[in-house]
């Protein structure tokens, strides 16, 4: 990534962050004229956590997606397609029944454990250097299992309120989170991204093949364990606060590698920036789309991401055929 592209990315991200905190602007302006204190608290307690969460969650999905794609040497690996987010969601829903949705620490722990379980299962099922078909099948199986168990947990909900709480959260949402909750997602996210960045050079050498990477002095087994634990930690912490959001972890690394001449490890930082940008943009769409009400953000990323995924599959098939 050149200095110019990094500056452009940072500027775009800053603009998106500002837009996400300030738009829609008219209502904020009117409120400022009427009641300054109320307007300020609206900004700090509602808009700011939301903008922060979009930034942190998007960046985590981008960085985790880049790391997982590099680890499996497969551009279709991502936290959502491999079942990590579903596992995290299951972990969080089960924990929520035990401790309620207002216990962020327990929720985060449950969610991280769920993500860890899903990734461990994926590695056991698909193996460390999985073919695309095996990887996607294993991911599908894990997502289906976690989804079924989540539905079961919903069906056994102790009360209709618990059911609606869980359902609402499962759709993925950045709305109505406090600054504390945003911190619970943002701090683990920041730590995860920082630690993943340190593994970038080793992931680049892994692109030469596992045996060559080992002969160059990389402990591949340890690297694998580190990526899995970090990804589960970062994604789990974000899912615990905001629910499952798909496709960012798939798309951001693919764009990011265009900036790093295809280097999978070097793509972690740009993937984090692009992920943050994409999720912030998706959040803006949920608010500014003229539908009279706010769309769930998970729906927006899926509506944009699913066609992209289809294009990607078609493109890969075309390349394999030619």
């Amino acid at each position: 990534m050149t200095v110019r592209t990094s500056i452009l990315l940072m500027l775009a991200l800053g603009a998106a962050f500002a837009a996400s905190a300030l738009l829609p602007f008219e209502s904020l302006q009117t409120l400022f004229a009427e009641d300054r204190t109320l307007a300020l608290s609206l900004l700090v307690e509602l808009r700011l956590p939301r903008a922060l969460l979009a930034l942190a969650y998007g960046a985590t999905l981008g960085a985790a997606g880049a790391a997982v794609q590099a680890l499996f040497a497969n551009p279709l690996a991502s936290p959502d397609l491999t079942g990590t987010t579903s596992g995290a969601a299951l972990g969080a829903v089960v924990t929520a029944y035990l401790f309620g949705f207002a216990a962020p620490v327990a929720l985060s722990v449950g969610s991280v454990l769920g993500a860890l379980g899903a990734l461990g299962l994926l590695l056991a099922l698909a193996g460390p250097r999985a073919e695309t078909a095996t990887l996607l099948l294993a991911g599908l199986a894990i997502s289906a299992l976690a989804g079924a168990l989540t539905t079961l947990a919903l069906a056994l909900a102790p009360s209709p309120f618990a059911f609606y709480d869980a359902y609402d959260w499962l759709m993925g949402s950045l709305i109505d989170r406090s600054l504390d909750q945003a911190g619970f997602a943002a701090l683990p996210a920041l730590a995860t991204i920082a630690l993943l960045l340190r593994l970038g050079p080793a992931l680049d050498r892994l692109a030469l093949g596992e045996e060559v990477a080992q002969s160059l002095g990389n402990d591949v087994a340890r690297l694998r364990l580190q990526i899995i634990c970090l990804t589960a930690f970062g994604v789990g912490a974000c899912v615990a606060i905001c629910g499952a959001i798909g496709f960012i972890g798939l798309i951001a690394p693919i764009f990011a590698r265009r900036l790093t001449r295809g280097h999978p490890g070097r793509a972690i930082l740009p993937a984090a920036l692009i992920g943050a940008l994409l999720l912030t943009a998706a959040d803006l769409v949920t608010r500014l789309a003229p539908l009279g009400r706010t769309l769930p953000i998970g729906v927006v990323t899926a509506l944009i991401g699913a066609p992209f995924f289809l294009w990607l599959v078609a493109h890969m098939r075309w390349r394999l055929a030619s």
Partner: protein
């Protein structure tokens, strides 16, 4: 001595192998499929979890990290698959060196993606990756596979030139016995996970490979004709 390795083992694949390689030596490793050639190279390169000792210049290179290890040894695997579509130039840089090998004629290929190269071109590129850090010891698994006859000879001559500089050495696993005889200073013969013999002369060749030289050509060993079946 460049390398001393003793009692190298990988359960079920390699048993108690000991090797010494001197400065400037090109040692070829021959043996039937599954005899442990690749396992021995792995054990020396620190791939998998082999037991045994390896010493180069007083250190075990397998304990060195990515910044130092390529200066001691590099390894070329037998497979020419690269799991990620990098540019050829970047592939060589990631291995820790520069691609200045005029003999390999890489200049026009460096800015292409590795998955768009032909098998032979990719082989040359991967060989350049292994040579580029200018290691003391080259561990090459079937370096001449996928290369045409001219390139096979050029490649082995390049390896010879490389190790002639500053007291380096190469250990090359190879199936072609004639190429081994032509290029090697010493030939180690492997069989069932052990180093069974040295050199290609002697009765062990028929026992291990099941072939013998008849009128200058390698032929399957024929069992002595059974007198009862003859007319």
């Amino acid at each position: 001595m460049i390398l001393r390795a003793a009692n190298l083992s990988l359960p079920g694949r390699l048993f108690d192998a000991s090797v010494e390689i001197g400065e400037g030596e090109l040692v070829c490793l021959v043996g039937p499929n599954g005899s442990g050639k690749t396992s021995l190279l792995h054990a020396l390169a620190g791939i998998g979890a082999p037991s045994g000792e390896v010493t180069m210049a007083g250190v075990d290179p397998r304990r060195l990290g990515p910044s130092q290890r390529p200066g001691f040894l590099t390894y070329l695997p037998a497979t020419r698959d690269v799991p990620w579509p990098l540019l050829a130039r970047d592939l060589i840089a990631l291995g820790g060196g520069h691609a200045d090998f005029p003999a390999l004629e890489l200049a026009t290929l460096l800015d292409r993606r590795i998955d768009t190269l032909s098998t032979g071109e990719r082989s040359r590129m991967l060989i350049a990756r292994a040579l580029a850090p200018r290691p003391r010891l080259l561990l090459l698994d079937e370096p001449t596979a996928n290369l045409d006859p001219l390139w096979q000879i050029r490649l082995m001559e390049l390896v010879r030139e490389e190790i002639a500089m500053d007291g380096r050495a190469a250990l090359v696993a190879i199936h072609d016995l004639d190429a081994a005889a032509r290029h090697a200073d010493r030939i180690l013969v492997m069989d069932r996970g052990r180093i069974a013999a040295e050199g290609l002369d002697g009765p062990h060749l028929a026992d291990i490979f099941g072939i013998e030289r008849v009128d200058g050509l390698w032929q399957p060993v024929r069992l002595p004709a059974d007198p009862r079946s003859s007319p």
